[in-house]
Symmetry: C2
Subunit: 253 residues, 2 copies
DNA sequence: AGCGGACTTTCCGTCAGGCGGAAACCCTGG
DNA sequence: CCAGGGTTTCCGCCTGACGGAAAGTCCGCT
């Protein structure tokens, strides 16, 4: 016992409360009123009020002209110091640009966090297929191209854990059978490339390749997303693989 | 009395302490040991230890294989929700790419926060002049090209405040005379373009133009940084201006 | 105007829980 | 083997966080 919003409330630490305020924001709720925020964070308004005040003073939140609360610039500044974010982005940008030039499709870079992938950078073609992903977004590993790569090269324990929980289904083609997935992963490791064919949406297909850090372990994955019936993976694979390799080289320096 | 690290300690609010932990990180200190962090944050280790524990659990910090603490991915995810960050980036990316294609020089996008500019995005040419700026970095407004633009179009009060405090000098050519600066700003407003000629470093020159939001107010500034003795501002201005206008148009949609 | 509702801000008494000194623990290098 | 750095745990004191409540503010609606 002890769970349930009411009970949980009182037994939260001060930091947890502050962080809950930040967690009240997500892609669908980028701007909140104080009370909406309090509701979402599971806090009494008066408490939220004080915490928000602290965050406003610090720059972690900002109040727009419309009076709504949004995530502030200062938070972003700090966050920009995260490894696997700016540094990775900077190293990857030129090669991603090249890849975009070559394909004019969505080019994405993602890293693994726990059992999920987080998209760190993306070049969205003006005319490319619209995709669900966005920078800063989190996705389960099993479906996307980048996810397959990152899972294939993840430590044993992570793989086991990912395979043991039920796999989320997005389309009729999403692979949800662990045995099937396991063999796909072996394939990815062997070929150094992953293809997610209509496993996320029925109109898109992605081709991904691993990006390696200085010491050879896979730190990120690069992918290109194309129309499912367009140029096949066959032709894209080499380009993605070389671009990923170029990023790995840039990281080594 | 009352100031000085010791006295200040006790009189801090819980949130302030947590935020101080985050502030312990900066561009020169991206990875810290617990005690170094405590020192920088002005907190007793035991306190820092607990706060760090909370942040680790939340994902605001992460501990590397080397045992050092770094800013965590989850913080970045939240920060990515900040307006004038990802959204702006996404809107600006294509035009910035075009501008880079045209010039092959550093292309930068910045917004104003208080009396400073924060660089939000940058395309670093492989062969372009090395510059001091980096994404996530903060600079005083008076020297850089983007700063001049953002200051020129800032609200009256901001301008007054910026002009009333002494201007930081970077090179012998940095403008530090408020009267001189004031006339430069008028010029920027009139021409819709700002040139910072060797005001930050003696080898670089930047040309900047305003990016406007849907309601016409200046929300960001776009700039190109080139070798001080290279192609003059004369030739760059049109390109920068058009690219900035294209971004403004993208934002309007 | 007058009213109801939703949000924000302030106030304050209570008491949970944060705070931090100190000591134990754990390295690594001399 | 010890010295010096870091990390982690423990625990009693007491501060300052907590949140209910009420006042203040700003709508839109009739």
């Amino acid at each position: 016992m002890g769970e349930g919003s009411a009970a949980a409330r009182g037994s939260r630490t001060a930091s947890a409360r502050l962080l809950a305020v930040l967690d009240a924001f997500d892609a669908e709720h980028r701007a909140l009123t104080l009370s909406a925020l309090a509701r979402r964070a599971g806090l009494p308004v008066s408490t939220a009020h004080r915490l928000v005040g602290d965050l406003l003073a610090w720059g972690g939140l900002e109040r727009g002209d419309d009076g709504l609360l949004r995530v502030g610039l200062h938070l972003w500044e700090v966050a920009a110091l995260a490894p696997r974010t700016i540094g990775l982005r900077e190293a990857a940008a030129p090669s991603m640009g090249d890849l975009y030039e070559a394909t004019h499709e969505n080019v994405q870079l993602a890293v693994r966090d726990g059992l999920e992938v987080v998209f760190v950078e993306r070049i969205a073609g003006r005319h490319a297929v619209p995709v669900l992903t966005r920078v800063g977004l989190r996705f389960p590993m099993s479906a996307t191209g980048v996810g397959l790569v990152l899972l294939a090269f993840a430590p044993r324990e992570v793989q086991e854990e990912a395979l043991s929980s039920p796999l989320e289904r997005f389309t009729e083609r999403t692979v949800v059978d662990p045995r099937r997935l396991r063999s796909m992963l072996a394939d990815v490791r062997r070929r150094g490339i992953a293809v997610s064919d209509r496993q996320v949406t029925m109109d898109a297909l992605s081709v991904a390749a691993p990006v390696r850090g200085p010491d050879g372990d896979v730190v990120a994955a690069l992918s290109v997303v194309v129309q499912a019936d367009g140029a096949g993976p066959r032709t894209l694979a080499p380009a993605v693989r070389t671009a990923a390799a170029a990023i790995s080289r840039a990281l080594a320096r």
